[in-house]
Symmetry: D4
Subunit: 247 residues, 8 copies
């Protein structure tokens, strides 16, 4: 952010005077040639920034991570390619790379404490990559999580065996491909908000996740809302801000 | 059918010589100007013919029913308009009209005995019209039925309360609109074939039943196959021939 | 609900023993021939039940409302036709009918106190019907609401003029048709969850709300999740349970 | 499955006490870290389990097969990559790998006897991969099969030449891509249920199988129901349980 | 057409000098305020003009017909509303109105002789409206026709009984809704071009004719090409020019 | 607009201080209960405001028009129902109602002079309603227009006969339904920007204008951009601001 | 073909007794294990068979070509991979391979004389692969062809410069991707049937040829019918049989 | 172009006599075997020709560039593959290759002076490739440009910080993927035409840019028109001709 942007944020009420002062003191460094980093989010929330790595070169990611490290901020990158992950791992020390979720976290300082509870329920093992992205995101933003994988509705006993545990959460994330029925069944069994994530798992007439998306958007159950296909990050983020508001 | 058609049916092996003889003896009357009636199906199966009333005029329906009555055969008409139903009711005595299913049965002779069991499970009260079409069709073709309406997955207890009864059937028909999750949940709980009927019940992104259709076609559960949106007749027919094959 | 269903609910952990006792004492009356009413939700939550009126006859609605009145419970009906609304108004006294939202509330007893805050922001005057359904639902379930109508992104000053007020809410509902950009812009300006409702307002290539749905599901902003097209009820429900969780 | 899941299955009536006892005696081993195997299906049916290999690593498949071998159970894996197939073949001895269908069967014990008859009719040689998956699945679940490949409707004589043989089956599977007309033509010529499998064979406006799917779902013939595009496994499974029900 | 347009047609080679002379001699009258009539087509071909009546007012149709009558030309109007048909019938004497096809022909002079043969084959009685539009168009443009209605593939004997007759045509029009399989089956049985017309007959997943359109466009048989859904006129026109070219 | 909104507009640079002063002096009247009118656009541009009448009641339209008349401003309403048009005509004197375009203009003061040139070319007479909306809008915003109707590509001579006239415009609007080829052909013949308007004219696989929209968006010609299906207003507006920029 | 199939073809009237005799004399060899070759088409028409190579292995193609060579028949293979083409070229001598069209012709005997005229008009150079497949197919089936490539409507002069030549053909094939306007423009300029081939050339909202397909199916011009996207073979075949019918 | 085409262009009024003379003097060289180059556009406009490189071989591009160089004309190639770019760079000296935009410009003579102003605003860094294609195209055709990248609506302050600068342009290009809201927000803030470019940036339900396309086509703001998904070239071209018309 440059000076002009900071002042407009102040004008829009997105930051207060104290944050503006802090940001102004750092303007000379925040602007990489290829990316404008929004450090004030980190300032405000204490959680750190998120980088969507897909479409960024390895060098760009190294630049971004270096800047965050220099400032002592944490950063979460999603959809990181194997190649970029390897290069970053060689360069930085406080890295947490998750191969399944394709995420990397740079911990320049201690992560925020995790409180509350987000329950993450997925239908099949193929949904695990999306589910892990959700888990890592929610935890990065300070939520405690508990995962219940491989609980698809075709074997209802697996879901019912875990339902008491799931009910302890402040918000439930339901992750499923194919017909996405998990969201409706779950929402009928819990009283908290259900964030549904359709996945592209399946083949044929699932049309890359369309079947699950339509299924979830048309849920006959109360209390369901939906994010994009395979958008584990989005579900982790919104479920976390819902969770953090409780108590 | 005319003589030529009967002989070709014989050649194709669709009828045997006895039926061909019977049919030939009736060729002079079977050909209404607007419709070719296939009486030999009635002959073979003992169940009677089915007429898709949508797009036929009331007069055409009266002609058809008269012909069946004259021959002493039963006939089932689906998608009958209220207006046609009224006119037919005034003209014929042995009529069974179902306002919800929009079906009419003309019983020129005793209906076939109903055997076996087809379980018909529907998600909501709005699916009742399709479910009743299924029930009436299955019964017309000689299957005993049992209905479980308003058993949507958002209130799982309603389904589980009836599951022991449903398991007694030789085939289960699952009828649901919106996200159509019922088919998957049911197929996970029974061991017999599940015939799924997506309905156009819902609004918005259900796109006139597309969401339920895609959901059911992509079912994660084993043993599900699907008929057209709102096709209660089709589900009744195929479930009945599956049921009748048992024992 | 019948006895069997109540016991299964107990087994599933959906109700506790006390509620089961209460429910069992009322089983003789709760089962109308056409609809199974779920009074235990009312018991548990203190808010009352919701009836989706579309596809139900006026007589069925009268039966349902009578049953609720007899038990001294409140009920909210959505998508009520003008004709049904008139008939119900003549029959019941404690009715609140909203012509714009097409909702009716029967207040058999005092409504729950409204707490917290749900901000309801809509893009144009044509979205008002959906927005009002959201407002009435959220209030029925005990949430305080504040509405900001006609705040579409084509006149950004209208949104910015109200942003301080909107930021006071625990959850924001963004309602828009056409290109549905409101959800993304709002989510960039607030820190709480945004529930997005695409509406069918528009013409041509909006394909009955598909454009707004896709737009919202693909939002580039953090913290957005989406309900069905025109589903004001769904947004009111989930935003209310999010709001009520905030202490 | 863990102890809790087994007890819930008992409660849901999915298994009886004897099976529960057997399952409990094996709980210590059934839970691989990545997959929960459902051995009780094997127990109940005598046929063995099925594994959807797509999306599983070779190592995971080896773990699963080892577990089945250890228990002396059979297992069928579908959509196995060439690489996984090779690795499994080197490790296990009683393997049957079908390169066309991309299936592997591990015969830890004698396969069930094949009874009844499922007729598998495909339109072109390009549909053979789906057709073989159907055949292998149906046989794995104890059905006798007979295949009629390359019988597309553009050369009707090929179909009619085989129709007498096809009519001997208890259920017919119709497999076709492009315009999928085979299902309708077949259903007009047989009296048993027809399970239709649209395939993705074709190009241009077949949209990866959509044309065949819509064609089959809209069949003008009686007695057709449909599974997902290229879902040979699903057709094999449901046709087998229909076939096995016939005494 | 005005003078300028006529000269450009001459320049483009669409008319020759003789026609240009004739047309120029009539320019003062051909231009109704609302419609530009192309009389030179009539001149050239001897068949007359066609008017797409949908979207034109009754008065506009009367103006157009009057102009044709004044000049002694024939005209065919398609998609004529009942109301317009009635008004035209009262006003003109040499009218042929077909209620099923919704066409009107004004015979100001003798129709051209009909030669060759176009076979028109339709699947069901509901397709008759489209089929009749095809027949009337083809005859208007000078082709002899023969119709084979109610020959859907679900009862193959009906098609085979007529196949020898159909083979006598120079071109075959295949008209079907639902799954549109008729086009493929027919094309496999004849050696001449097949013009396929998908119809909107059906419901649910036929999506107003999309299923039949995709089916026909993806035909596995040789020699099929396709016109728009319900476009009986288009099929009649192109089949007629193909037919007229023979011999 | 209220005071807050005016000040934010000033802050956003949308108005200058003089306009802000004028607007503030009128805030007490501009806010009808149902609609917020944006008089400052009128102030700035000298053209007047536009009202999208669809979805507004006749009474709301009367209120809006009264407010404009009171202030001496012009207003254009589009998509006005026949009923509303009649009521408005009885109430106001300086009204221009166009039945074809479904527009009404209230001229409280003299319309702006029309300068430059916008050429409006449409394919068929059925596109006239959209074309007239374009013409009226462009003229309302101060552009001179010239219309070329019924110039579809199937009769290329009609287009070429007018091409010299069309080339005199600063911008060309191409309006067509069905296959929408007009836009590409026109863009190949002129050097100025072509604004393409797909219309919903057609049937069957035009899917309410989708075919024309896709056709125009994929134009192989340079210099084409596209507005929504049937959006004559949008084309009139953007073509007018392009035209007005040309000195 | 086996004996049974030949007799049924006789019964269906597809072949006469002489052909049946010939075919029966060859039954021992015609049935490769993987493919049933239909030599009687070759017998009847004198043109030879066509093989769709996509999805067939190189070895299968070699087997098929060997069989044709042994019998002294010609064969055309379409969609031949580069690899297969190379292998075939090494094995057979009388091969004509077209790299652009991806076709191979094996001339075991002299090709039929080419008569009549098919005009093949394509919009851009990227459509050349489809256009060449059309040309080669039409010629293989005995039609003379003339090609007019790179004649898209964006440069109308290229089309008009060739229109006199194009008008000499008995049938015109119009090949275009993107917005596919070429078909409509051509059909407005010629009097013979136009076979339209949409191609997948383009990007973005052309959706792999959907835009061109919809455009052509909705053509406002008379005398257009359409084949599948990129189906150069289909267009070559049907245009050839139309052309060959013209005396 | 050959002689015939030049004369027809003269006839169509696309060129005047002087240009015709010039063109005729060069006809012997303009016709490469694979491509017809339209040098007269270069002659008329002074800007040079554009080549769509996708689908052209490297050798074809070399031929084309050589021809332009020989004539001393400039040429812009878009969608150039890395491989072709490398080969061209080795062969020609006055080349400008942009790796991000995948464009190459051959400057055989001085580029036209850049005048006016086109503002190019993009939502995210992933849209940069499209944005750069727009910039380079607009500049090639003589427009001055200014770019504002990474200004998505989720961070409104970035857009507002630049809005004064953006308002100085004669036309604004808005480039965005995902939900494409940028176009609507921008159009609400400026008074000049907005050309919207949807991009395929995103995943899941963006369906390769469909969400952004529908969003932009349905914009609630005035003054927006849309080009194809990822069509940076198209936006650059039309925005440039709009810009060049001013003053």
């Amino acid at each position: 952010m440059n000076v002009r942007e900071i002042l407009i944020k102040l004008q829009l009420g997105e930051i207060d005077v104290d944050n503006a002062v802090k940001l102004l003191s750092k303007t000379s460094v925040a602007d990489l040639s290829h990316t404008r980093l929004d450090f004030d989010r980190t300032q405000r929330t204490g959680f750190g920034e998120v980088v969507f790595a897909k479409g960024k070169t390895t060098q760009q990611l190294i630049d971004i991570f270096s800047e965050f490290e220099r400032r002592g901020e944490n950063v979460l990158a999603t959809r990181v390619s194997e190649e970029s992950a390897k290069a970053l791992s060689e360069k930085f020390t406080n890295l947490l790379y998750c191969e399944i979720a394709k995420t990397i976290i740079l911990n320049s300082r201690k992560q925020a404490e995790q409180t509350g509870l987000v329950a993450i329920v997925s239908a099949g093992t193929s949904d695990m990559s999306v589910a892990e992205e959700t888990r890592i995101t929610a935890e990065f933003f300070g939520s405690r999580t508990k995962c219940f994988y491989d609980c698809g509705v075709a074997g209802l006993h697996r879901l019912i065996a875990n339902i008491e545990e799931i009910r302890k959460a402040n918000v439930v994330v339901a992750i499923a491909g194919m017909e996405g029925a998990l969201a409706s069944v779950l929402a009928g069994l819990v009283k908290v908000p259900v964030i549904a994530v359709p996945t592209s798992v399946g083949y044929g007439a699932n049309f890359e996740g369309l079947s699950a998306l339509l299924s979830m958007i048309n849920s006959c159950a109360n209390g369901v809302s939906v994010v994009n296909i395979d958008n584990g990050y989005g579900a982790g983020y919104i479920s976390s801000i819902i969770n953090k508001q409780v108590k």
